[in-house]
């Protein structure tokens, strides 16, 4: 039973990975492939922040440099395969993420030591500096980073493994499925190792570490390298997926994305970043089809999570799961219902307000058009609706809060 408990998540996720293509259409697959990349990226970020307590603003540097390593390797494979000789001629594209890993880890190894002296704000600032420098620096060396147009390549070269031609997104999916599963497993395993435990210890109380025989810096440094490598691995996956790498992939925006995904999903819980990666990626690539304020909504979701759900979405899931094991679902269900209702009401109010402002400032509103609604920002009616929704949401909120105090 306990054994099953331990393996259930892996069996299930494996099954999901195997069944997904059967139930999804073409366009979904390409988004799923991106999600896979982001899952690894976000988890690698959480190795730093969630597990090791190091807030980084330059994580994309490792992702991007890993990506570049992989794409250059891909070109090498192409050339070697054309010539038919050399090491790269026998190197399958399938294994390129390993090159990415090596790249990312190497960079972390080179720059990491001075960074890891302290965690907290100092670390955040120094990684910010690193991020800015790398992002600006890439524009200076076109021969390596391909300047604005980046470095592009073709993944259909070299030895083919498992009959994966990697021609269509559908092929790439299997590549992604393998690597996302392997990477997640690896990072989960890492948390179970002595070093993984020590990284948690360093996060909780660096001062005590020395008195159990560990200089915090060493532990941080090793975690930093591992995390940089994993980010590079994600970069390698990206290189194969897009077949092009541009300087944007190491920009501060990309670093922010990692932070966004990890925090929204939940830093404390291992699978949190996975949830975050899925949500944020979907929002990023689909939301803008329906509204022009897409970016704003992503930001608001992030703010809401930081303010009201510090443990992220995964925190909520855990909450439910524990209630389930504790057989308290029935007791808590009504409160949850009320809470959900209030949140939905507040969200609707917010969305309506935003779209109205958009209508006022831009004359048209995409969301209204897609919904086929006739919005008129000049009339008081919609604004009244906003107020009403706000009131309802707030009322319900107070209600649930009261019932909480009553029970506890």
């Amino acid at each position: 039973m306990t054994v099953f408990r331990a393996f259930a998540p892996w069996v299930i996720s494996l099954a999901v990975l195997l069944l997904l293509p059967a139930v999804t259409s073409g366009s979904a697959v390409s988004v799923i492939n991106v999600i896979a990349i982001h899952i690894v990226f976000a988890l690698s970020y959480n190795m730093l922040l969630g597990q090791g307590g190091m807030l980084s603003f330059g994580h994309a540097a490792f992702f991007g440099l890993g990506s570049y390593a992989a794409i250059h390797a891909m070109n090498a494979i192409g050339d070697a395969a054309y010539a038919g000789t050399g090491f790269w001629a026998h190197f399958p594209v399938f294994l390129l993420p390993l090159v990415g890993f090596a790249g990312g880890a190497l960079v972390a190894l080179v720059v990491g030591w001075p960074f890891c002296r302290r965690a907290g704000t100092a670390f955040a600032m120094i990684t910010l500096g690193l991020g800015e420098l790398v992002a600006t620096g890439t524009q200076m060396f076109p021969s390596v980073f391909g300047g604005e147009t980046g470095v592009f390549s073709n993944r259909m070269v070299g030895p083919v493994w498992f009959g994966l031609e990697l021609a269509q997104p559908a092929d790439v999916y299997w590549f992604m499925a393998f690597w996302v599963f392997a990477a997640v497993l690896a990072m989960w395993a890492f948390t179970r190792t002595p070093l993984g435990r020590l990284s948690n210890a360093v996060r909780d109380n660096p001062d005590r570490m020395q008195f159990i025989g560990y200089p915090p810096r060493n532990v941080r440094f090793l975690v930093f390298i591992a995390s940089g490598g994993m980010a590079g691995l994600a970069g390698g996956m990206a290189a194969v997926n897009y077949e092009i790498v541009t300087p944007e992939s190491l920009s501060l925006l990309a670093s922010g994305l990692a932070l966004l995904m990890a925090a929204v999903g939940g830093l404390g819980i291992f699978y949190g970043p996975i949830v975050g990666a899925i949500l944020v990626t979907v929002m990023n690539s689909l939301l803008s089809d329906y509204t022009d304020a897409a970016v704003l909504y992503v930001g608001l979701v992030f703010l809401a999570v930081v303010l009201f759900a510090p443990s992220g979405l995964a925190g909520g899931i855990e909450h439910v799961r524990q209630a389930w094991h504790g057989k308290q679902v029935a007791a808590k269900a009504p409160r949850w219902l009320a809470g959900t209702l209030s949140v939905t009401a507040l969200c609707m109010a917010l969305v309506l307000a935003v779209e109205l402002v958009y209508l006022l400032s831009h004359g048209t509103d995409k969301l209204a058009d897609t919904l086929g609604m006739e919005l008129d920002a000049s009339s008081p009616l919609p604004w009244a609706a906003v107020i009403l929704l706000l009131a309802t949401g707030y009322g319900l909120w107070r209600l649930t809060a009261k019932s909480l105090e009553a029970t506890s």
Binding site: R192, T193, P194, R197, D207, R208, M209, F211, I212, L222
Partner: protein
């Protein structure tokens, strides 16, 4: 009898303020040695100097005849001297067991292992389980350390200190802020700990001190005014005047 820990002319000053002024002290192998003294006598500073948290301004600290002053805390810990803290200083989000196990890794050769599961590190796990029983927290094995009741946290604190199998252990006010029953348990624990170790304790609770200590040193304003058996100390006039007298007043 050989000295496990001997301090020679130890001095420490923060700017002009001289907190430790030429302390000389020998802690014998296997004894329980208590350091007492009025508040602000510099007891905590004294411990911080020995354990490497602070750097001495002058003098020597010898562990089994080997100079350890100037070494980093982790190196001192590696040479077999561990210390506990006055305020509980544990890894809040880790379980009690994890706390102990992390404290065991280094000395059970788990180092910075990242290729094997922590559960596979036989030595560390065995040791952690032992200590767990020793400090009587078996029931709270998987509770997060941050959520423990105060007394249990103190016990865990001691457990983490001894987990690394250090030959010389410094305990900083192990029973501070405990109820009588809790204190009783603590004393038991400390006895056990002291059975096969050299122990140095800073303690305010005179009851505890006189019950546990083989020898006592009195630290007053950065100087050892007296060292001896509990009886000797009880009857030492200087101590009376400098310390107990003050207590009476």
């Amino acid at each position: 009898m050989s000295a496990a820990l001997s301090i020679r002319d130890l001095t420490k000053n923060f700017g002009p303020a001289e907190v430790i002024r030429g302390v000389n002290l020998d802690v014998r192998q296997g004894e329980i040695h208590a350091v007492i003294g009025p508040n602000g006598a510099g007891k905590s500073t004294f411990f911080n100097l020995i354990s490497g948290a602070l750097r001495a301004s002058g003098g020597d600290i010898l562990l089994h005849g080997e100079r350890i002053n100037g070494l980093a805390p982790q190196d001192i810990q590696q040479r077999g001297l561990a210390r506990s803290f006055q305020v509980s200083n544990v890894f809040d989000n880790l379980s009690v067991f994890e706390n102990l196990r992390c404290a065991c890794f280094k000395n059970s050769g788990a180092g910075y292992v990242f290729w094997r599961a922590a559960t596979g590190m036989g030595g560390a796990n065995r040791r952690a389980e032992e200590v767990l029983d020793m400090i009587g927290l078996r029931a709270l094995r998987d509770a997060p350390a941050g959520a423990l009741p105060y007394a249990s946290q103190r016990a865990l604190e001691i457990g983490m200190t001894i987990a690394g199998d250090a030959g010389v252990v410094l305990l900083d006010e192990p029973t501070a802020g405990m109820s009588n029953t809790e204190t009783g348990q603590a004393i038991e624990l400390i006895r056990q700990v002291g059975a096969d170790r050299t122990l140095m304790i800073v303690e305010h609770d005179m009851g505890v001190v006189f019950e546990l200590a083989d020898r006592i040193s009195v630290l007053v304003y950065g100087e050892i005014v007296a060292t001896g058996t509990p009886e000797a100390i009880r009857n030492d006039p200087r101590v009376k005047e400098a310390y107990l007298g003050e207590e009476a007043a």
